[in-house]
Symmetry: C2
Subunit: 446 residues, 2 copies
């Protein structure tokens, strides 16, 4: 059996390693177009925050380890240009321009996602960056190091954009945040988003809402980032307006894509061709709340899906229950966490959804260090089910969200969740955990 | 309807307040034998840690508020001495020694628990304390304040004993911890207990294991706390060897007690007499893992049970699903958390239980501040169910335990829990949360 994997990051290398453990004699080939495999992309802002930070420290396992210890034929600089699904082979070109053609018994497409870059005038200037691959990170680090950057523009305010606000501020760089939407984090309730925005402003981030960047111009060695209404000067610009799935290869091979544009897969991660799998950022997954397909590219999902593909091709039972859309990030001393559906998403999915927004506290009021915690909780009037939770706090709140995520996996009703025996001790929580306070409030509306 | 409540702390006052909300015209009488109601007993160590600490700041709501704002007939200094279940009345004595007799339609026994005090020679010396009621706290605070305490002996190493190790150390007092068991926290796996013990030793706590205190003697103004093998000198001694339920009144009234000695109740918190309820530390509850009755006195359980009693007597549906035995505490910079059953408890409950002990990390290795986290996880080979988790860490791990607690409420299998979409961001967790790492390991043994 020859197991070929396109893409050597989270999903791809997890699949390769697990397949090797499951099947010591399997022939495993990984084709990676860059020179990097298996790195922690999510950690790049934290490396960039540190003047001494080393991007290469994010490499979790070196190529040599995969090759020598795990007998995985890992080929770097190998770009697959097409998949012949019928003949079960992939075609491509290596770093030297040599064509290659490789036959497979089972194929995994783990091509990840690509940072969006609008093709506006100036998008290809050398001072304009995205932050997705490790090479992107190296380029940003080198530019900041070489050019005494004093001011940076960040276009977009998703996870990466906001994390980079903190990272660049840590480096003493003034940050101009340029957003096309009229509010920050529009998927959060206003009370929660307000707490984030307040912190950004307190930390000196310049925020311009409602500005759609139309062009980027050079102004000497500097840039002018221009919306219709105004231009903002900066030494560099970071485009952080989300990612899209790398599903082009799959589409060209005639494999089905989902409504999201990512590769459609079943609960065993098979594409529309049973010998071809897809996993990680390029593939869809199922949402545990809606039961429908969704596309929420996350590192844990990719790792887990990689394992599952390896299990399935080695004959183990696999059924992906799906994702809850759990996500968390911090900006300065504020933490934002979410799991499940927002009210808008819940209504769109057909639920009879209701919400509460509750302010609570991180610790008992009797001990020092207690901070406000905002909880937004969404439930279904018809079934009583818990549908989603988001939280904003400042006292290590992020991990609290996991209790709600598990409840979503368990398809719990709000009433059941409200009876959960959550931990209480004064330094960690009020007697009623903020999540329980919210659940008790939400119950009144169900 | 006259609703009479014996005991005015967590369960009693929660029931009184909720009954008032549910039934604006109900006659509600609370009989509290001390002068304090509704205070955060769990916070006493944190007040004692602070030289300026004010015990009275732990009173959550003053008696006048209950009386005036909620029209609750709250009588302090009223000790109930007997319950006539057949005639539906309680008898007792007030602070002036006047007898009283009060008829009830519904009665709640919320008499709490009492700190254990072995009747060894010297147990009643004025330098020997327990820490259970607010008056206990006031006595300890006054003694430390008035007597320039340089060294204290803590007898027992449960939650309170360990929290007091930290509190007294904060006050510059040398702490001698005297334990009868041969190891610290015997319900924890050795790796986890070892991390706690190491911290205590590093912080200068003197620990003597395997010493059963047999007598306490005065030595001038100081004490000698004596085991068979040795005596330990100290300026004061704190007995912290657990609590027992105050179920004597109920027993004398002919109400059934459980095997634990606490008052037996059904899932609506009714005792063996349908018009008499029991809630809080004096009552049993159901364990969500075993389905059996248990006695785990905790603040959240008491608050929740108080609400449930009020709901039941005002005609609302009530069914107590039970407790998971979730508990958490910190000692210096170490946090200990647990939920569900230990291996021993699981085997005793008849499960085909297996365990794993896994060392993991609190954050991604790529960011600073990551600390070791030990996870002990127990599962059932036959059903695959998750039975219990305990954790020890140093980086705000306590709240992680809630994810496992919710899984226990959802009666999840380890396999289901292992697929949970838990939050990942480098400052909060590795890609695989420590709980998921443990679940993946445990799966291999199931």
């Amino acid at each position: 059996m020859h197991f070929v994997i396109i893409g050597g990051d989270a999903a791809g290398m997890s699949a390769a390693s697990r397949a090797r453990r499951n099947a010591p004699d399997m022939r495993i080939t990984v084709l990676e177009m860059t020179r990097d495999v298996s790195y922690s992309a999510c950690s790049m802002p934290y490396v960039l925050a540190d003047e001494e930070g080393d991007m290469d420290a994010l490499i979790m396992r070196a190529p040599a380890v995969f090759r020598e210890k795990q007998n995985i034929d890992l080929r770097l600089g190998h770009r697959v240009t097409s998949i012949d699904a019928r003949a079960k082979r992939v075609l491509g070109e290596d770093a030297q321009g040599q064509a290659f053609e490789i036959a497979f018994d089972k194929l995994l497409i783990a091509t990840g996602s690509t940072a969006n870059m609008p093709l506006i005038p100036g998008h290809n200037l050398p001072q304009v960056f995205v932050l997705k691959s490790l090479d992107d990170g190296r380029r940003v680090a080198a530019f900041i190091g070489d050019n005494k950057v004093k001011k940076a523009a960040i276009i977009g305010a998703g996870y990466i954009g906001l994390e980079m606000c903190e990272a660049l501020t840590e480096r003493g760089i003034i940050v101009q945040l340029i957003r096309n939407a009229p509010t920050l984090l529009p998927w959060l309730a206003p009370e929660l988003a307000g707490m984030v925005e307040k912190t950004l402003i307190q930390k000196g981030i310049l925020i311009n809402h409602g500005c759609t960047t139309e062009r980027i111009e050079t102004k000497g060695e500097r840039l002018d980032i221009c919306c219709r209404e105004a231009c903002f000067d900066a030494d560099m610009a970071l485009m952080a307006i989300g990612v899209r799935p790398n599903s082009f290869l799959a589409k060209e091979a005639g494999l089905a894509l989902g409504a999201s544009g990512a590769i459609a897969v079943n609960r065993c991660l098979q594409t529309s061709h049973p010998d071809i799998y897809a996993a990680g950022d390029c593939a869809e997954s199922f949402h545990v709340v809606t039961g429908e397909k969704t596309w929420i590219p996350m590192a844990l999902t990719a790792n887990r899906a990689g394992w599952a593909v390896a299990d399935h091709i080695t004959g183990r039972p696999v059924r992906m229950e799906g994702v809850a859309g759990t996500g968390v990030f911090k900006i300065f001393d504020v933490e934002v966490a979410r799991t499940g559906l927002t009210l808008k998403e819940a209504l769109r999915a057909g639920f009879d959804a209701v919400e509460v927004v509750v302010k609570s506290y991180s610790r008992a009021k009797t001990v020092s260090g207690s901070k406000p915690v905002w909880v937004h909780m969404v439930g279904d009037k018809q079934s009583g089910r818990l549908l989603g939770v988001s939280m904003v706090g400042q006292d290590n709140e992020a991990r609290r969200i996991n209790a709600a995520a598990v409840a979503l996996h368990g398809r719990m009703r709000v009433a059941d969740f409200s009876t959960a025996d959550l931990a209480y001790a004064p330094p960690f929580s009020p007697v009623w955990d903020p999540l329980l306070v919210a659940a008790n409030q939400l119950l009144k509306t169900l």
